[in-house]
């Protein structure tokens, strides 16, 4: 590579870090036969990490505007803006900075509390909230990478939680680590089965997994609700409420840094799972075949890969990971017994997390921690500043919106279009070729 080709020397790194290939822009046609879903998924996933980061920043700015606009003092000072504009600016500053400072204090470190042990508690809360999001996000991301849209997180979590919970409160007599492991395995297996059903339906009948997973969510919800309200199944004996008994201590995920923090060993499991999924996707045969099926099922089939079987496997894995999130909920977060709301919307947040993390395992990990922080900090913001927690939800939703529309983010920050890379690159190689041909 000669020195007079500066663009050239940078290209490989850019290409590796962010395969910014939007379909149809470099000679390969978007083929009409492939489903719109997979094209859409790919467009979203191929956005660069930069887009994710900028989307978060932009969303926080928009959140700030909302906070300012809804703040009473700001509204009041706006009334006499032209006589004393400074009042309004300081009011805006106070409300927005106050909100984000309390968000920070509620999610990372609280300087107002005495001592490090107390100050760091918000970070522990953040990681606790993030733990199920990490594994569920990884599950959804795995599906994305194989071209499957797993919206069935709720159902898979409910089944995972129910199976793990049932083992955890009814298998008395098992010693501590074994009881816990059995409960985790049961939950993971239940999630895998529930995800696998959608995969099997897709593989054998071609049923769209978007529809089947949504429907399976309802089936799971009402089935689990029925089990929770039926004596002898999951219901607390002698109770009328649709709620399970408390988990036995031998099946509970122990706290990581003592009982004063909520963080439990599930977080370590989540880190291990992230490493595993990274290995699966980037270093394993199965992951290679998953990705081949996701990118181009036709070529995968011609290359001897059993596409229907891969789809079933993907949904099994995806469901297992999401099921593990359900396990973390019952054995880590809420160990006093669960109701049919135990999924806490994580099954859906997982989709957002997977998108924000661009379905890369460590991206998902980071995104889940961010969302954990939003969750932990949102409550603090509401408590200390009186700002509705819904603002945080708005910020989260705006993030998704922006990630789904990379051109919008690019326009706001005046980023160059990524497709400019493609022609230069391919043209480059053609130019080179021509030189050699001569």
């Amino acid at each position: 590579m000669s020195a007079n080709e500066p663009v050239d020397s940078q290209l490989p790194t850019i290409a590796q870090e962010s395969p910014n290939r939007e379909p149809g822009q470099d000679g390969t046609e978007v083929d009409p036969g492939r489903s719109r879903w997979s094209v859409a998924i790919r467009e979203i996933l191929n956005g660069s990490a930069m887009i994710s980061v900028l989307a978060v920043i932009l969303a926080i700015v928009i959140g700030g505007i909302l906070i300012a606009v809804t703040d009473d003092t700001v509204q009041e000072t706006a009334g006499y803006f032209f006589s004393r504009p400074g009042d309004m600016f300081s009011a805006i500053w106070n409300s927005v900075s106050g909100a984000y400072i309390s968000l920070f204090q509620g999610s990372i470190y609280n300087f107002r509390r005495p001592g490090f042990a107390n100050g760091i508690r918000p970070l522990m809360d953040t990681l606790t909230f993030a733990t199920p999001l990490i594994v569920a996000g990884l599950g959804v991301a795995l599906g994305f990478r194989a071209g499957l849209f797993n919206i069935g997180g709720r159902g898979q979590m409910l089944f995972g939680a129910s199976a793990a919970g049932w083992v955890a409160f009814s298998f008395s007599g098992l010693p501590f680590p074994i009881h816990l492991i059995v409960a985790i395995v049961a939950g993971v297996a239940a999630g895998a089965v529930w995800g696998g059903i959608a995969g099997l339906l897709k593989a054998t009948t071609g049923a769209n997994e978007v529809i089947t997973t949504i429907m399976l969510n309802y089936v799971a919800y009402y089935f689990v609700y029925w089990m929770l309200s039926t004596q002898g199944l999951l219901q607390l004996p002698g109770s009328n409420n649709p709620k399970s008994p408390a988990m036995l201590p031998s099946a509970v995920l122990p706290p990581m840094f003592g009982v004063q923090y909520s963080l439990h060993w599930g977080f370590i499991v989540a880190i291990a799972v992230t490493i595993f999924v990274w290995w699966l996707l980037n270093r394993s045969r199965l992951g290679f075949e998953f990705k081949a099926v996701g990118f181009n099922p036709n070529a995968a089939r011609v290359a001897g890969i059993n596409v229907p079987r891969m789809m079933t496997y993907v949904m099994l894995f995806s469901g297992a990971l999401v099921g593990l999130a359900g396990v973390f909920q019952v054995l880590g977060t809420v160990t006093t017994g669960f109701s049919s709301g135990i999924d806490a919307g994580i099954g859906f947040d997982a989709i957002t997390v997977a998108l924000l993390g661009r379905s890369r395992p460590w991206g998902v990990f980071a995104a889940a921690i961010l969302f954990g922080a939003f969750k932990a900090g949102g409550f603090a913001m509401q408590a200390s500043q009186g700002i509705p927690v819904d603002i945080v939800l708005v910020v989260q939703s705006v993030i998704v919106l922006l990630i789904a529309a990379p051109p919008l983010v690019r326009a706001v920050f005046r980023l160059p279009k990524p497709n400019l890379l493609a022609p230069v690159k391919s043209a480059k190689s053609q130019g080179k070729k021509a030189v050699v041909t001569k």
């Binding site: 080709e5 663009v7 050239d8 290209l11 490989p12 290409a15 590796q16 395969p19 290939r21 470099d26 000679g27 390969t28 046609e29 083929d31 009409p32 790919r42 290995w279 980037n282 270093r283 394993s284 045969r285 199965l286 290679f288 075949e289 990705k291 081949a292 990118f295 181009n296 036709n298 070529a299 995968a300 089939r301 011609v302 290359a303 001897g304 890969i305 059993n306 400019l420 493609a422 022609p423 230069v424 690159k425 391919s426 043209a427 480059k428 190689s429 053609q430 130019g431 080179k432 070729k433 021509a434 050699v436 041909t437 001569k438």
Partner: protein
């Protein structure tokens, strides 16, 4: 209408795709733009069509300078384009597709379908197309779909028609018919810009030929120039159009196909009771017009067709009812017809594509994990061996030119231990240099004793490669003839007639 391009220059970053290109297309003239893939033909036409803005230069129509900001402007000015990949909506009818974008409406904004149908009929009649305005476009053969594209352009009163590699997707017959249509259009006064890299077509219809290489006009040629002259202008060096191959050293029959029939998913008999064999060290070419069962025959061999009766045996072992995996494991190398769709994962890197059908075990997979170091070494080696022009092994396959993509597929398939090579349309859409390369590799495979089955709709290719030729027509084999059979005999056979005196081989 007279079209003139003056000094058109288009740059992409550091690359100059079009470097001061000037050409004049007179009214009622077929002007060929000849050049290798990547020479800058399509860029030039996209500038003309308003899809790109030229950095320098101007476009003149009847000596009036035009300023196109988009295809709409170009269309309004009377420029029509027949794209290589059709811009049609498959679930719409012919009439609906033709009127799309300027729908005739009657009172209250209702679609005036009758008028649209009438327009289709009128234009069809003018050019002798046999086209039903109510046929669903998706059901039509490719050649007929292209006519819909032509009608679409004509219905907007195009005076200059640009055909961007129109024959890439056509069968020889359809190509001939297209040539007739182009001549008719010329008679009617339409100016035609015909982009291609196929020499024979150029010589058949062109009035003027402009050869483009590396974004520059390298010269004009007359249609009487020989193939060799045109080819050497295109690629800048002399090209052998027929590759040298020695006499086949025949071994035992390796692939034996006996009374094979295939029923496709819609229940049609697409391959009808055919029998042939391929010996070790022999190239058998399946010739025939596209859509006569060749695709399904190949799919049947590869285990991609579910309903297969009869026998397919390779080295004495039956391949019928086997999965694709088992067929590949039996040592069958496969170059699929559509490399983008079936041969490569364009989002994967070159290295990943090189192991696409070898993910089941060593050397690339051990204990369920990928052996990336082994793969990288292998890919580097193949990059050199097959002269794949790319930044490196981490380049995505989708960013390669067609020729280099095909080299990746070939490299993958030929680097396994083969007991049979099946190559379907191995050079479709490739430039002259790549065609030569691919052909050489296929002959090398033959010379190493591998039986080779080539399926091609290009007579040139069949004649260049084959030791024996089996001609397919409507799912059956018309006859199996020696490789040196004259083209006219093959042509007749492709039309379903077995010429008298033609001897079977």
């Amino acid at each position: 209408m007279k079209l003139e391009l003056k000094g058109i220059t288009k740059r992409f970053g550091a690359l100059v795709a079009n470097d001061h290109i000037s050409l004049v297309v007179e009214p009622g003239e077929i002007h060929c733009l000849l050049g290798e893939n990547g020479a800058g033909k399509s860029t030039l036409m996209n500038v003309l069509y308003g899809l790109y803005q030229a950095d320098e230069g101007e476009i003149l129509l009847d000596d009036v300078v035009q300023n196109f900001h988009g295809p709409g402007d170009a269309m309004a000015a009377g420029i029509g384009m027949v794209h290589q990949h059709f811009m049609l909506i498959p679930v719409f009818t012919v009439a609906e597709n033709v009127m799309l974008g300027h729908e005739p409406t009657s009172f209250g904004g209702r679609l005036n379908m009758a008028k649209a149908r009438e327009q289709v009929r009128e234009i069809s009649k003018r050019f002798g197309f046999d086209l039903d305005p109510d046929a669903i476009v998706g059901d039509l053969p490719v050649g007929v779909q292209q006519r819909v594209e032509i009608i679409k352009a004509l219905s907007r009163d195009a005076k200059v028609l640009v055909f961007d590699e129109p024959t890439a997707v056509l069968t020889p017959q359809e190509t001939d018919e297209l040539m007739v249509i182009m001549k008719q259009l010329r008679e009617a006064g339409t100016s035609i810009v015909f982009i291609t890299h196929k020499l024979r077509e150029v010589r058949e219809v062109a009035d003027t030929i402009t050869v483009i290489r590396l974004g520059k006009v390298v010269g004009e040629a007359s249609p009487t120039a020989s193939n060799e002259e045109l080819a050497s202008m295109m690629v800048g060096r002399a090209i052998e159009l027929t590759i040298e191959k020695g006499k086949a050293k025949l071994g035992e029959p390796a692939l034996v196909v006996n009374k094979l029939s295939v029923i496709d998913p819609i229940g049609q008999l697409v391959v009808n009771n055919i029998s042939f064999d391929v010996k070790e060290g022999e190239i058998v070419a399946i010739a025939g017009v596209q859509g006569n069962g060749q695709t399904e025959l190949v799919e049947a061999i590869m285990g991609l067709q579910p309903k297969v009766t009869g026998e397919i045996a390779l080295g004495g072992k039956s391949l019928v009812g086997r999965s694709v995996r088992e067929v590949l494991d039996a040592g069958v190398g496969f170059v699929p017809e559509d490399r983008n769709e079936d041969g490569l994962v364009s989002e994967f890197t070159i290295a990943e594509n090189l192991m696409l059908d070898r993910s089941t075990g060593e050397p690339f997979v051990k204990y369920g994990g990928l052996q990336l170091a082994v793969l990288a070494d292998f890919a580097e080696e193949k990059l050199t061996e097959f002269d794949i022009r790319a930044q490196g092994i981490a380049t995505h396959a989708g960013n390669l030119s067609g020729g280099n993509q095909q080299k990746v597929v070939l490299a993958r398939e030929l680097s396994r231990h083969l007991s049979l090579l099946v190559a379907a349309q191995p050079t479709r859409g490739l430039d002259v240099g790549s065609v030569e390369f691919v052909h050489t590799r296929i002959v090398e495979a033959r010379d190493s004793g591998v039986p080779v089955l080539v399926v091609s709709t290009e007579l040139d290719e069949v004649v260049a490669l084959a030791d024996r030729i089996a001609v397919m027509y409507r799912g059956g084999i018309v006859g199996i003839v020696p490789g040196d059979t004259p083209r006219d005999v093959l042509g007749l056979m492709m039309a379903g007639e077995m010429p008298t005196g033609g001897k079977a081989a």
